[in-house]
């Protein structure tokens, strides 16, 4: 049994299982819900298998087709990929359980194949070692995500989906031009080989600009965030959770991966990471302020995503001197945000199901009537605010520590302000949740599985506050942040 687990190539299962599941759900619509749940559960088990294998043998590498780079495509996973895959599996499973209760049969038939293909695309992206392969996974992800947003129907969802599609395609095209330049400049599209061959030259600078711009657009970083609030707010609740928690992290992961591996020779110049830190800071402030101004709950949560993504970019200027802590903080923040934001959107979905609307001012004594949902929102808010104990606290604490030791008071101020604003908008929602609304609503029942899914995700976000040591040691598998290299 042991040898089966350590010898089997789990990465392949992570990609092929959801592909097969999506196709089977498409062929057999009547059984789509159970098939979908089984597939996602199998994916979760496979991530466990991969983790076991990687703890034993180190990084995972699989040469598809037997050719190996540069001729073939390599699948590659180190600690960072593993953590992203695990987050995807965990959040994906919780959202799947939620969706089984959320969607009626006719909507479920359309939802499950799209969601399973999205899962396949996410896994394929986190496992990919080839930048052109990443482009194809981006397109797979984009088309699936846009179709999922449009499931809600209606003017807002369709408009949000259209804006999202145009932005996603533009981002992918900019990225692809960068890929073309890198290939013709260095003769390969394999990330590991590129990291060896790249040297500073106009081609690399152009590729950085193009791919950076494309990926920043896909990650909805200020000022390229315009597409995110309409799309995430008008989608069905589980879809909003998927998008904010997982899909935006995918393009950030690629940006980080390229930054650390391919564009590493360019890092010695100040301008780029100062720019990234600057837009991160503006995202934190702008997103938080806009979140505070919202009257609708889902738009508030969407703007909170814009703000939290900004935090991830604050790490870039900090990572120059002290790489390890800053990048570990980023990994921690990304995972905690995924858990907490998914919990928030699922809780919002419960509230909409319950009261028929998502106006914050009209939340009617939710705490008494939907205690699990209110608790889920509150606990998720704890992580978003960065209060202990929670994953968000660990991530922000690590970043504050690095910023203080480097004397970056500007970033410290931004982080503290961001935390205060986050507290403001979280408590705004909770405040209304305690009070009675002016107009009473006919409450509809919310299935228990939906409430529990939200609550368990929020608890996981809080639990991350206690798991710092094991998680951070997992991240170091394969040394993704290049810390053992000696920098000249």
């Amino acid at each position: 049994m042991e040898t089966v687990v350590t010898e089997f190539s789990w990465g392949i299962a992570l990609i092929l299982l959801p592909l097969a599941g999506g196709m089977i759900c498409f062929l057999w619509p009547r059984r789509t819900q159970i098939l979908g749940l089984v597939t996602v559960f199998a994916v979760a088990l496979s991530v466990g298998g991969l983790a076991w294998q990687m703890l034993d043998k180190g990084v995972y590498r699989h040469a598809v087709g037997g050719w190996g780079a540069p001729l073939g495509i390599d699948l590659y996973a180190d600690g960072l990929s593993l953590l992203m895959l695990a987050t995807t599996a965990l959040v994906g499973f919780a959202i799947s359980v939620y969706s089984a209760a959320y969607f009626k049969q006719e909507d479920a038939i359309r939802f499950w194949p799209l969601w399973l293909f999205l899962l396949a695309a996410l896994n394929a992206l986190f496992l990919s070692g080839d930048i052109f392969n990443v482009y194809v996974t981006f397109e797979l992800m984009g088309l699936a995500a846009v179709s999922l947003v449009a499931l809600a129907g209606g003017r807002d969802a369709l408009g949000g989906a259209m804006r999202y599609l145009l932005a996603a395609l533009l981002g992918s095209l900019a990225y692809l031009l960068g890929v073309a330049l890198l290939y013709h400049g260095f003769g390969t599209v394999d990330i590991a080989l590129l990291s060896e061959r790249v040297e500073p030259s106009p081609v690399v600078w152009a590729a950085l600009g193009l791919m950076g711009a494309g990926l920043l657009l896909k990650t909805a970083v200020f000022p390229l965030h315009f597409w995110l609030p309409p799309a995430h707010a008008s989608a069905p609740a589980p879809v909003s959770a998927l998008l904010s928690a997982l899909v935006v992290k995918a393009s950030f992961y690629i940006l980080l991966r390229l930054w650390l591996e391919v564009f590493e020779p360019l890092i010695s110049s100040e301008g780029v990471y100062t720019l990234l830190g600057l837009i991160g800071a503006m995202a934190v402030l702008w997103g938080s302020i806009q979140a505070l101004r919202q009257t609708r709950l889902k738009l508030l949560i969407a703007y909170s995503t814009v703000a939290q993504i900004g935090y991830l970019f604050l790490a870039f200027p900090l990572a120059v001197a002290v790489g390890s802590t800053a990048w570990s903080a980023v990994a921690y923040l990304a995972i905690s945000h995924a858990l907490a934001k998914a919990a928030m959107f699922l809780a919002a979905g419960n509230l909409v199901r319950f009261g028929g609307h998502d106006r914050i001012a009209d939340l009617d004594r939710v705490v008494q009537r939907l205690p699990l949902t209110a608790a889920a929102f509150a606990l998720a808010g704890v992580s978003i605010m960065g209060l202990p104990p929670s994953g968000g606290f660990i991530g922000k604490w690590l970043m504050l520590e690095v910023a203080l030791t480097q004397g970056r008071w500007d970033l410290v101020v931004v982080m503290l302000l961001g935390g205060l604003l986050a507290a403001a908008y979280v408590f705004k929602v909770l405040g209304y949740a305690f009070t009675q609304a002016e107009v009473a609503h006919e409450p509809k029942t919310v299935p228990a599985s939906m409430e529990w899914a939200a609550l368990l995700l929020a608890l996981a976000a809080v639990l991350m506050g206690f798991l710092a040591v094991p998680v951070l040691s997992l991240v170091d598998i394969g040394d993704p942040f290049g810390l053992s290299e000696v920098r000249p």
């Binding site: 190539s9 540069p70 799209l114 797979l140 449009a150």
Partner: protein, 321 residues
Amino acid sequence: MEALTLLEWGFDGLLGLGLLWLAWRALTCPELFKAIVLFIAFGLLMALAWVRLDAPDVALAEAAIGAGLTGALLLAAFAKLSLVTGHEELKPARSEKNRIRFQHYWMPATTLLLVTAGLFYVILSLPPYAAGLSVEVASNLDTSGVSNPVTAVLLNFRGYDTLLEMVVLLLALLGVWSLGDTTIHREAAPGLVLDTLARVLVPLLILVAAYLLWVGAHAPGGAFQAGAVLGAAGVLLLLSSWRPHADLIAWPLRLMLVLGPAIFVIMAVLLYLTKGQLLEFPPAQAGILILILEAVATVSIGITLAALFLGGRPRRGKGQA
């Protein structure tokens, strides 16, 4: 030889400038229908550019998919758009809200000019001779099972990309289907010309598709080109008001759509279990395995493209059993 080089230069220059000019006209033409037709012409000129650049496989794919099917999709969408918004789209846009105001376009224009200039410099900084991966492709071509290097890359060396790409195509159809249904009742009978043309062309197109599929192993061609021709046959049938039998639109249609990617996944798994790496073709059987893959892919691609043209999930019409 001088005259030949001058001729080549003249041809390339005209082609390149023609591409730019057609693109500009397609983007700025006030009448939307004209813009779409200009885009189709642009696609055909691109196919010519691919031939000029020694990329016949790409030329076939561009002519069939890029110009042909994309053009058909655009025209169909335009026709449906005119129905929904009235016929205002046919007239040149004169209203204030459709005019591009000067202050809105000088800033993006100047930024783009700077970016373009920068990219020109980057392109020109590349070395004039670069083999890329052509050496590796050539040395491994013998064990790949085919002798057309593009087919070898698509189906063997980088077959994983092709698998994902086929799923992308299927996914687009899933997305289109999730957006709405369309009834499959027969519309008005086609005119005589269209009817005759369809009857003559469709069998011919199927033959051409089969040929392209077969010949793709050692000459320009392959599954995508063949699938696109098959899709064109499907579009022609749909345009002449042919509709599939009501019983076929349930699981038989779905099965055919899924067949390509599904067989690909199954073969990938089987090869992993027998050979140790995903999609690792044994050199002796590679040729026949690739042909099987391409055959099912052709069918799936053709039907998917035709279904995309239909624009909605087919439902039985009213009054049908």
